[in-house]
């Protein structure tokens, strides 16, 4: 960069300050600007199907006056209008029962930038992503690979002046073997880690090949000892984590609405944490939307509900402390993590003994949010394991998993020692977690689809 040249971060900081100053002086106010660029390549059945590039500028304004709360969002360059519209909107609301003053800022600025990602995105270099998905290497491959660069600036009337610059590299692939027997896996990182991506793609290929070699056996309906891959665990435990957001309790979407911190809600083998400080994952941030310092915090620790996840608003309403999970109106998730156990990757079948290895799932729906009753369609390889050995396989679409998420987490028995970085269509937040073994329970049934 030439001397004197204004960086993207400096440009956004200046814009945020200008808009903050244009907002009414008698209001609490915060301005967040996110500038982002990304490139993505999608593949389908052994061919690239589209190459995409995105450039966005997102401006969000928080304004609170007389106990009224407004959040306005602009994906447009018309920043001149933003302050005027935001002020007008807040005046047209009633006092919010959620209102709490913006807290003292305690967060700090930070970076998790991989220059290689930044360069590839700036140059629109999709060739590297295309070669990663090469069908000559992987066969009948579908999926996507994406690189992104984001700069976030938060400026607020509580004195917060914070920036976060980060990159991300994520994707997922599905590889088909014979007769729609497939494997699927994902990866996510703040760095361009080709080994991580290749390991994920290789895992998808190995699952497809293993399932193709094994004889087909569609398991009888019933309860089984289950080995959940990180893809499946990530999907189901993300719903559990969402249910631990105080906003979910408030809106009538939480299976833990009758629980309180200190309650045992899961087995002692499960520790589920919010991990915004993990800079290997792109949910990384050292401040939340209120400018509060984020922290890694176990929401469920060895099976015990330690805390719901709060911003200052839900914390005030529920008599708790903020956990640094602010969204401006309701709390939100950053990264998630399940603590690993001691089963080595080579011994997961042996640890399962007799049961089913569920490698992926899809289309999870809650029958009853308040009781955590759900069903989900299995997808890709479902491997029958007997005496610690894989003996048969069926494509997951022939099976469904149904039951209670409360039963599932209380029956977690053990976890693998190796964590995987997972994010894909059905796992929305970056999630680091291992394989998980769930004991056979009448509350969790495998059904034929």
């Amino acid at each position: 960069m030439a001397p004197g040249e204004v960086t993207e971060r400096e440009r956004l900081e200046e814009a945020a300050r200008t808009i903050l100053n244009a907002l009414p002086g008698d209001a609490e106010k915060a301005v967040k600007i996110v500038g982002s660029k990304s490139i993505m390549v999608k593949a389908a059945r052994g061919s690239v199907s589209v190459a995409q590039g995105f450039q966005d500028l997102l401006l969000e304004i928080y304004l609170a006056r007389d106990g009224k709360i407004a959040v306005t969002s602009f994906k447009t360059p018309r920043l001149d209008d933003a302050a005027k519209i935001a002020a007008r909107v807040v005046d047209k609301l009633e006092k919010s029962p959620l209102y709490a003053p913006l807290p003292e800022p305690s967060g700090s600025s930070s970076q998790a930038v991989d220059e290689k990602v930044a360069t590839m995105v700036a140059e629109g270099d999709t060739a590297g992503l295309t070669s990663l998905l090469d069908p000559d290497r992987w066969g009948d491959i579908s999926g996507m690979a994406e690189l992104a660069v984001t700069t976030t600036v938060l400026t607020a009337s509580n004195g917060a002046e914070l920036t976060l610059e980060k990159t991300s590299f994520n994707g997922y692939t599905r590889i088909f073997g014979r007769e729609f027997r497939s494997g699927q896996w994902s990866w996510v990182s703040t760095r361009f880690d080709e080994k991580l991506a290749e390991e994920a793609i290789r895992t998808a290929k190995q699952l497809a090949e293993e399932c193709s070699k094994l004889p087909e056996e569609v398991p009888e309906p019933g309860s089984y000892r289950l080995l959940l891959s990180p893809m499946v665990g990530g999907n189901l435990l993300e719903i559990v984590a969402s249910s631990l957001l105080a906003g979910s309790v408030l809106l009538g979407f939480s299976m833990f609405s009758h629980n309180k911190p200190g309650d045992r809600i899961a087995s002692d083998a499960l520790t589920l944490s919010s991990t915004p400080l993990d800079d290997e994952l792109p949910g990384y941030s050292m401040f939340d939307d209120e400018g509060v310092a984020t922290r890694d915090i176990a929401a469920i620790e060895n099976g015990v509900l330690k805390t719901f996840l709060h911003n200052t608003k839900t914390a005030r309403l529920m008599g708790a402390e903020t956990t640094g999970n602010a969204g401006w109106i309701l709390p939100r998730l950053f990264n998630l993590q399940v603590d690993p156990g001691d089963i080595s990757p080579d011994n997961v079948y042996e640890a399962l003994g007799d049961g089913l290895y569920l490698t992926n799932n899809w289309y999870t729906r809650l029958q009853n949010y308040l009781e955590g009753r759900f069903s989900t369609v299995l997808r890709d390889a479902v491997i029958r394991v007997r005496n610690g050995k894989p003996v048969s396989c069926t494509p997951g679409y022939k099976l469904r998993l149904a039951g209670s998420l409360k039963d599932l987490i209380i029956n977690v028995e053990a976890a693998g020692s190796k964590p995987y970085n997972i994010m894909w269509w059905e796992v929305n937040r970056p999630f680091k977690l291992p394989h998980i073994i769930v004991a056979s329970s009448p509350g969790i049934e495998v059904r034929r689809g």
């Binding site: 993505m40 593949a43 389908a44 059945r45 052994g46 061919s47 690239v48 190459a51 995409q52 590039g53 995105f54 450039q55 966005d56 500028l57 997102l58 709360i69 306005t72 602009f74 994906k75 447009t76 360059p77 018309r78 519209i85 935001a86 909107v89 047209k92 609301l93 009633e94 006092k95 919010s96 029962p97 959620l98 629109g124 060739a127 295309t130 070669s131 090469d134 996507m144 692939t173 729609f180 699927q184 408030l250 809106l251 009538g252 979407f253 609405s257 109106i329 899809w362 289309y363 729906r365 009853n368 949010y369 009781e371 069903s375 369609v377 997808r379 022939k398 469904r400 269509w425 059904r447």
Partner: protein, 482 residues
Amino acid sequence: MKSGENSRYDFYPPDPVLLEKLVEKALDKGASYAEARFHARLGDSVLVVNDRVVGGGFEIEEGVAFRVIVDGALGFASTSLLSEESLDSVVDHAVSIARSSSRGFRKKVGMSEERLGQAQYSLKVKKDFRNLELEDKASIVLEYSKSLESKSVDLKAKTFSYSDVLEAKLIITSDGGNIESIIPRVSIFYNIAAEHGDRRANKWGHLAGSGGLELVGELGLESMLKDDVNSLEVNLVKAEPSPKGVMDVIISPEIVGLALHESIGHPSEADRVMGREAAQAGLSYRMWLDGRIGSSKVTVADDPTVPGSYGFYLYDDEAVPARERILINKGELAELLHSRTTAYSFGVQSNGAARAMNYRSEPIVRMSNTYLKPGDMRFEELLEDVKEGIYMKSYMEWNIDEFRLVARYVGLEAYLIKNGRIVKPVRDTVLEIPTESFYSKIDGVGKDLRFYAGICGKGEPPQPLPVWMGGPHVRVRDVRVG
């Protein structure tokens, strides 16, 4: 292209001449096809929880999407920065990423030759939401929230999310398409959580359509809410465990619409049939299945031109004129839903099903308003010769496998039928049913067509899009209830 009367709803499209020049520039740089789309979405939102306004806001997103085909490779680039310089660079970006990934395109992309539209249209409304302030919109929702009550269950949480959106597009294609459109939409999503003793359940609902605030009354929010509270009361207080076994099932329009969307609409998307959604939204039984799938009473349409519908449009996002698509004709599988790229691959004409969520989205094959054509039977006639069966009136859970072969629907409000009469409420009725069984066993179709709003998911980045789903009551013979 006019902006709104209220400054919040103004949008600022780039000069169409500039977009035309950019399209020309892409051709000069070697593209065989180019398409520019200005796409704006602007609207208010309010969140009401337990009869209190928790917060509100306004959202604007506007930007330009640019799509090209270079050497058989499809490139897409978008930006929310609308300066001439930014737009110029987005063309370069689209062309360069298409070119740099072209080696990976084993299946070359092309566009079907079509009669493209050159038109401007704007949906007229009776009660324009642009003329109301946020407090007026909040008061509408508050009134409904406060009216919710139950004598038999505790309503523990009542959540209402109101939003409106003005969606404006200007689409220019290198082969003559030129469409300007403005469509307003209103949406109210709600969730009611209830308890009775140690039992708990929730019911969420969605009222939405294209038009103004008149939709709230016309689509019957008041009766929807009453029905849903009644469903919770029936389930939590009165219902007994559902019987299991093979029996007849009468299914309400709410569940029929959902079933059609999932098991007929999605598998009829040509891009799924080609495998383009193989790692995302999945595949389709129409990869191998053709011919008869249902009884002669089953005719299923997808029609974007239904007035007031949530999935309304007159031209798709590739400038192809919209029309009704018949997906099942008297039990026979019929048309697939096509964009120009899938139509090119299949060697047919597009039927105008390409939709994009916003300026960040490429147009892909999507449903609009999918419904079962009504028959001529009254509800009582459907009931009268059922010896033993279930009437499923509302649902709380559903899913379906990626090929769309077997679906699951779990009833919230359901009743046992004996000898042609509804005798008592039952709960947790589970219908897990193969698609072919479902449609081939329909022997009675009501005349009471009704639509329900939904948000349909697909694509990467994901593109949630507004749709309607609907149908009349139907009777399905001899199916397994679990």
